[in-house]
């Protein structure tokens, strides 16, 4: 890798980005405009990068057309203050208003829970079970302010006490956004794996023979443990591995393997109903689709399994994958049955 060149390229992007932002202001001084033109004329690379950033800038206007991202909420995360957001002076659009008042309710509930905690020490305060079916997803907000997004065919059991927040991943995959609370570690148990954090964001996926923990933000302690021995303590086992953001830990047998994740966005793409692949073998791609759909794709020939594929698909539209493969001349026209789609390699 030529890192000096990468650095130079990144510096041009930073500069171009500053120009895009500066020039989008209604009052740009003559001096600024002159400096910009001089900068542009210095190199075609500047110009090219500037134009590309303008495009990203334009796209950002459409990135949240359905207006599901809540400004109040984002700012509240930053300030670590949930109550204030509902009282914010800025008048949010109607949708936002409805959402924030619900969160205000959640905040009151959280306070109530804390008050209860003071009375009933060491009691289980909240225990719940949540599940999704094949092709279903949902996000749950726990009373501590953490959220858990359940992927397809997933089940969890939640138990919040005043010393520990514990989630059992019974099956499937879930994304945890853990509200910070140093006094109460957040622990996820999946088969023989334990992932524990104080406040962070991570993904746990329970497969038939292993559990994969991917850390999106912060740090998570990951260990392989005997659950019975563990139940008594809230401490992280001494042999735990500290996994940082951008890494995944595979917990299979005795050993835990960590590998860097090249694209975190791909790992969490399912939250928007999407599957992202980057040069994965078709067998993996098909297995992924089959997690989300009753209609199962079957590879008729092992020669197909090794075909590599990159792309973004709707998780609940296996037909799109099939059409893609047909068009790419990888397979013969697919044979679609009631509950299977059979793929055979192109002859």
């Amino acid at each position: 890798m030529d890192s000096a060149r990468d650095k130079a390229a990144e510096a041009v992007i930073d500069e171009a980005s500053q120009w895009v932002v500066r020039l989008s202001s209604p009052d740009v001084s003559m001096e600024e405009r002159r400096a910009f033109v001089a900068w542009l004329k210095r190199s075609p690379v500047h110009l090219g990068e500037y134009l590309r950033l303008e495009c990203t800038w334009a796209e950002l206007a459409d990135v949240d057309r359905s207006r599901t991202l809540n400004i109040e909420e984002l700012l509240a995360v930053e300030e670590g203050n949930v109550v204030e957001l509902a009282l914010g002076a800025a008048a949010p659009p109607p949708l936002v208003k409805r959402r924030s008042s619900r969160h205000f309710g959640a905040a009151i509930a959280a306070c109530a829970v804390l008050a209860l905690a003071a009375f009933f020490s060491f009691q289980t305060l909240v225990a719940g079970r949540y599940a999704t079916d094949i092709g279903e997803q949902r996000t749950i907000r726990l009373d501590d302010g953490s959220t858990v997004a359940l992927n397809t065919n997933t089940a969890i059991r939640v138990e919040l006490t005043d010393t520990l927040r514990r989630v059992d991943l019974v099956r499937g995959e879930a994304l945890f956004n853990v509200a910070r609370d140093p006094a109460r570690p957040f622990r996820v148990l999946s088969d023989r794996a334990i992932a524990q954090a104080v406040g962070t964001s991570f993904l746990v996926r329970r497969n038939a023979d292993d559990t994969v923990v991917t850390v999106i933000e912060g740090q998570v302690a990951v260990a392989r443990v005997d659950q019975i021995r563990l139940a008594a303590t809230v401490d992280v086992p001494a042999n735990a591995l500290h996994v940082s953001a951008g890494m995944r830990a595979d917990v299979a047998s005795e050993e835990i393997q960590t590998t860097p994740v090249s694209n975190l966005a791909a790992v969490t793409a399912w939250k928007t109903g999407r599957l992202m692949f980057e040069g994965q073998p078709l067998s993996e791609v098909v297995a992924e689709f089959n997690r989300y759909n009753q209609k199962q794709i079957v590879l008729e020939d092992s020669a197909l399994s090794a075909e590599q594929l990159s792309g973004v698909f709707d998780a609940n539209d296996p037909q799109a994958l099939v059409r893609f493969l047909e068009r790419a001349n990888v397979i013969e026209p697919a044979q679609v049955n009631n509950d299977t789609i059979v793929l055979t390699p192109r002859r």
Binding site: E54, C55, A269, R274
Partner: protein, 171 residues
Amino acid sequence: MQTEPDRRERWFQDLVANVGGDLLRFLRSRLRHGDVAQDLAQEVYLRLLRMDDVGLIRNPRSFVIHLAAHAAHEWRMLARNRLQHSEEELQQLIAEFADPADLLEENDRLHELRQVLATLSPKCQAVLLMHRRDGMTYQEIAERMQLSVAMVKKYMAKGLAACHKQMDGEE
């Protein structure tokens, strides 16, 4: 009296007023892939060097974008073996945006961008959304967040650059 440069500029203005963000999307699809992008940037660069600074400096931003859109468009026309300068150009440009393959790609890209956006600090996200999605001015955002306008711009530029670098890495 309307001079040729005036007429040109007028045409550019109309173009941007009519097509706006779509123009940039159209450009992006041409700027995205290796050699074509480089050639296009090179072409626009040469045109830029030929421009007199006085006209250019009046509104450098739209000038450059239009220059690029125009170069990209002329390429297409050349590829079709005819080059014309008329109101039809505008119609054709607009028609080109409606290419279903481009639209699909566009949707994929927005999905990706959304994921990337979510990896930024909440402050960066909020600032970008308030300006790009909600159309708040830098001044309004500064007041809302109790920051200086300079800081708002800083967050904005940082967020934009971060989005761009991550999207770039994925292409």
